[in-house]
C-alpha cells in the first residue's frame, strides 16, 4: 500500500471529512446541548453561537449527588475491570496452553455466559443480592458485570497468550521458575497490550451499563448512567441535564481512546486473528 497521489489524497480527505461530520455530529450535539439554554435547545436552524449556560451542569450536581454517582461508577467499573481482567487472563492462559480436546468446550461455555439475555437474570440477581445483603452495593454490580466481562477478556486474551512464544516460558522454567512465577513475570507482562485492550472494553462496558445498574442499586450504589437517565421522568425529559451528564460520562471513554488507541488497535487484531 503505497502513498496515495494528490488526487487520491483529496478524495480520501473529502470522504473522511464527510464521515467525520456524520460520526461527530451526535457528539457535537451532546457537547453543545449540555451548555445550551433549554428554550433554544431545539431551535432551528440550530444556534452555533449561543449564550453558554452552565446551569445544566449545576443542576446535575445539585439536584442529584452526581459526584457520588460518578464515584460509584468508577468503583464499579474499576472493580469489575480489575477482577475480570485478572480472572479472564487466568482462564485465557489456561485455554491457550492446555492441550486437551475438551478445552474448546470449556471456552465455549465461558463465552456463552455472555450470550444469555441479561433481562432474564435481573430478578434472580436481585433476590440473591438482597438475601446476602449486597443489594445497592458496588460489589453487586462488580459481580454481575464480571460475568459478562470475564468471557470477553478470555476471548481477547487468549489471542495474546497464543502470541507469546512458549520458548520464553520454557526458558524461565529452565532458569528455575515455577508455573505461577513464569506466568506472572514473563507471560503476563508480554501480553500487556491485551490487558490494556481487555481493560478498556471491560471498563467501558461496566461504566456504561444501565439495566443492572438500575435494578440492583438505590441511592448508595447508583451509577452515573442511571442518574443521568433519571432526568427522564414521567412528564418530561430534561435534555440539558441529560446531555450534561452524558458528556461527563463520555469523558473516561474518550480519555481511554486517546491514550490507548495504539494498544487498542494492536490488541484487537492480535486477539482476534486466531
Amino acid at each position: 500500500m503505497d502513498k496515495p497521489s494528490t488526487r487520491q489524497a483529496i478524495l480520501v480527505y473529502t470522504l473522511l471529512a464527510i464521515i467525520l461530520i456524520v460520526f461527530m455530529m451526535p457528539i457535537y450535539l451532546i457537547v453543545s446541548s449540555s451548555v445550551k439554554p433549554s428554550p433554544i435547545m431545539f431551535q432551528k436552524p440550530p444556534a452555533f453561537i449561543f449564550p453558554v449556560t452552565w446551569e445544566h451542569y449545576v443542576d446535575l450536581f445539585t439536584m442529584r449527588p452526581f459526584a457520588k454517582f460518578i464515584m460509584n461508577s468508577l468503583i464499579v467499573a474499576l472493580g469489575s475491570t480489575a477482577f475480570s481482567v485478572f480472572m479472564g487472563s487466568l482462564g485465557a492462559y489456561a485455554i491457550s496452553r492446555i492441550r486437551h480436546k475438551r478445552i474448546n468446550d470449556v471456552a465455549f461455555w465461558i463465552l456463552s455466559m455472555r450470550m444469555f439475555p441479561p433481562i432474564a437474570v435481573v430478578v434472580p440477581y436481585y433476590i440473591i443480592f438482597k438475601t446476602v445483603g449486597l443489594l445497592d452495593t458496588p460489589l453487586a454490580l462488580i459481580i454481575v458485570y464480571s460475568t459478562a466481562n470475564i468471557p470477553l477478556t478470555v476471548w481477547l486474551m487468549k489471542g495474546f497468550f497464543d502470541e507469546v512464544p512458549t520458548a520464553l516460558e520454557e526458558a524461565a522454567s529452565v532458569d528455575g521458575y515455577g508455573l505461577v512465577e513464569t506466568f506472572w513475570r514473563i507471560t503476563l507482562p508480554l501480553a500487556a497490550p491485551g490487558l490494556a485492550v481487555s481493560a478498556v472494553f471491560c471498563f467501558i462496558f461496566s461504566w456504561n451499563e444501565f439495566l443492572f445498574a438500575l435494578m440492583l442499586t438505590g441511592s448508595e450504589a447508583q451509577t452515573a448512567t442511571v442518574a443521568v437517565m433519571s432526568f427522564w421522568s414521567s412528564d418530561a425529559v430534561q435534555w440539558g441535564r441529560i446531555m450534561a451528564g452524558s458528556f461527563i460520562i463520555l469523558i473516561p471513554g474518550v480519555i481511554f481512546v486517546l491514550t490507548c488507541q495504539r494498544w487498542l488497535v494492536r490488541g484487537l487484531t492480535m486477539g482476534s486473528v486466531k
Binding site: V122, M215, G218, S219, S230, S233, S234, D235, Q238
Partner: protein, 450 residues
C-alpha cells in the same frame, strides 16, 4: 424541641422518580429531619423501569425502601399484592392536621384499592384540553369557522367539535393563520398515539369513556372494550390523524405537549401535570411568544358534563416496613403534601399539579395559574381511571394494538380491540368470577366516609 424529634435515628428511603412531584421535595428533606429527626433519602430513577423496581422491591421480604412513589393506576396491582400500607386509619386519625377535607375527593379515591387508601397524593392530575385562545379569538378565524361549520368557534365541549376545530386549524406552510403566513405546517391537534408506556391508551380511554364505553363487563369482570362505543372511539381517534402532526405514531407525552408548548397546534388534551409549563416562559415558548392559551375541560360525547379522567402521583408506604418506620414515613408524607408545602411550591414558581381546593381556588394563584379553575371544577365531577391489578396488561396490549390500528397495520378498530381484549382476558379468565368482579368494583374510599 427535643420532644418533637420523635423519629430521631429513623432512616427512610424513598424509591422515587426524577419528577416535579419529587424533585421539589428532595432538596429540602433536611427541613423534615430538623423537625422530626428522621433522615430521608430520596432515590430518583427514570420513569421507564421504575415500576419494575417497585415490584421487585415489593416482592422481597426485607424492604430497602419504606416510601414508594406510586403512579395511581398501579394502586390496584400493588394493592392486591399487599405491597402498600393501608393509610385509611392514619388519614382519619390526622384528618384535621392534613386537611383531609381540603383535598379534592377524587384524588383520594384515585389512591384507593377496595376502599382502602393506599397512597397519598403528591400531585393531582386531570385530563383537560388546552387550546390556542388567541386563535380562537381571532376575528377572521372565528368568521371563517362559523361560515364553514355553522356554529361559533369556542373551546370544544364535544368530541365532534374537537374534530371540527382540529380539522379547521390544520394548515400547510404558506397558508394563512390568524392573518399571518405560516412558515411551517400547523396542526389542528396533537394527540399521543405512541405505544410507549401505553401513551396512546391515555388518550384513547377518556374518549372511550366519553363515548359511553367502559373497561370492564360488569357481569363477568372481563375486558369489555370491544363494544360499539369502543370501536367508535377508536375510529374517532383515527379520524384525528390527518390533523395530527405526521409523527403521531411516536408522540409520547412530552413530545405531544411540546407542540402545544411551542404553540404549533391549536388543540391538545393531556394531563395537567404538564399544563403548568404553559404558564412558564422558561419552559414553554408559547408563553414567551406571548400567545395565549385557553384551558377547558376535556370534551364529552354530548356536551353535557360528564365524569372526567383523573390521575395522581402519590406517595405510599411499603407494607413491610417496621411500625416505627411507617409512622415516620407517614409523618413525612403529611409534611411533604401539606397545604403549606403545596402553597410554597405554587408560589415558588411553576409548582406541582395541585390537588387542594384551597389552593386551586386561591384568586392570587388562579391569576398566576389560569388553569387552576378548570382543574378544580373538572375534578368535582370526575371519575377515577382504571385501577385494576392487570392495569399494565391492559395498557400494554391496548397500547400496541391501538398503535397498530392507527399505523394501518390492523384493518379495523374492532379487530385491534378484540385482539387486545382477548390478550387481557386470557389472563383474567383463570380467576374466579367473584374475584374479577371484586377487582372492577370501585369501592368508595373509607376515608371519604364520615
Amino acid at each position: 424541641a427535643n420532644a418533637e424529634k420523635q423519629f430521631e435515628g429513623v432512616e427512610l428511603k424513598m424509591l422515587g422518580i426524577g419528577d416535579t412531584s419529587v424533585t421539589r421535595l428532595a432538596p429540602i428533606v433536611g427541613e423534615f429531619e430538623e423537625l422530626t429527626g428522621a433522615k430521608v433519602q430520596i432515590d430518583m430513577f427514570p420513569y421507564p423501569g421504575l415500576i419494575d423496581k417497585i415490584i421487585i422491591e415489593a416482592s422481597s421480604d426485607k424492604p430497602s425502601y419504606q416510601l414508594l412513589w406510586v403512579d395511581s393506576p398501579w394502586v390496584g396491582m400493588l394493592g392486591e399484592a399487599g405491597a402498600l400500607e393501608d393509610l385509611t386509619d392514619l388519614a382519619k386519625r390526622d384528618a384535621e392536621e392534613i386537611g383531609l377535607k381540603d383535598i379534592v375527593p377524587i384524588q383520594l379515591q384515585e389512591n384507593t384499592w377496595q376502599g382502602r387508601l393506599l397512597a397519598f397524593p403528591a400531585s393531582g392530575m386531570i385530563w383537560s384540553t388546552n387550546y390556542r385562545k388567541d386563535l380562537y379569538e381571532n376575528a377572521d378565524e372565528m368568521a371563517n369557522f362559523k361560515a364553514k361549520y355553522g356554529y361559533d368557534l369556542a373551546a370544544p365541549s364535544t368530541w365532534a367539535q374537537y374534530r371540527d376545530q382540529a380539522e379547521f386549524f390544520t394548515r400547510k406552510a404558506g397558508d394563512t393563520l390568524a392573518g399571518e403566513t405560516l412558515e411551517k405546517d400547523f396542526y389542528g391537534n396533537a394527540q399521543a398515539f405512541s405505544r410507549v408506556a401505553g401513551a396512546i391508551t391515555h388518550d384513547y380511554f377518556p374518549i372511550m369513556r366519553a363515548f359511553g364505553g367502559d373497561y370492564w363487563d360488569p357481569g363477568t369482570g372481563l375486558c369489555a372494550m370491544t363494544g360499539e362505543a369502543h370501536v367508535k372511539a377508536a375510529e374517532f381517534m383515527k379520524s384525528l390523524v390527518p390533523s395530527n402532526p405526521p409523527d403521531y405514531l411516536g408522540l409520547m407525552w412530552d413530545l405531544r405537549t411540546g407542540y402545544m408548548e411551542r404553540g404549533e397546534t391549536a388543540l391538545s388534551s393531556y394531563w395537567s401535570v404538564r399544563t403548568v409549563r404553559l404558564t412558564n416562559p422558561a419552559e414553554a415558548m408559547v408563553a414567551e411568544k406571548g400567545l395565549v392559551v385557553g384551558y377547558a375541560p376535556s370534551p364529552t360525547a354530548d356536551g353535557a358534563p360528564q365524569p372526567t379522567y383523573t390521575g395522581a402521583l402519590s406517595f405510599g408506604i411499603n407494607s413491610k416496613a417496621s411500625d416505627k418506620e411507617k409512622e415516620a414515613a407517614w409523618a413525612f408524607i403529611k409534611w411533604g403534601t401539606s397545604e403549606a408545602m403545596m402553597r410554597r411550591f405554587a408560589e415558588e414558581g411553576s409548582g406541582v399539579s395541585q390537588f387542594r381546593k384551597s389552593i386551586l381556588s386561591d384568586p392570587d394563584l388562579q391569576a398566576k395559574y389560569p388553569y387552576y379553575g378548570v382543574l378544580l371544577s373538572a375534578q368535582e365531577n370526575a371519575k377515577r381511571r382504571i385501577f385494576h391489578p392487570f392495569y399494565q396488561d391492559v395498557e400494554e396490549n391496548f397500547g400496541i394494538e391501538l398503535n397498530k390500528y392507527m399505523a394501518g397495520e390492523t384493518e379495523t378498530a374492532l379487530e385491534a380491540l378484540t385482539t387486545a381484549c382477548n390478550a387481557v382476558n386470557s389472563r383474567l379468565k383463570i380467576f374466579p368470577e367473584e374475584m374479577r368482579l371484586r377487582w372492577i368494583d370501585d369501592v368508595p374510599a373509607d376515608v371519604l366516609k364520615d
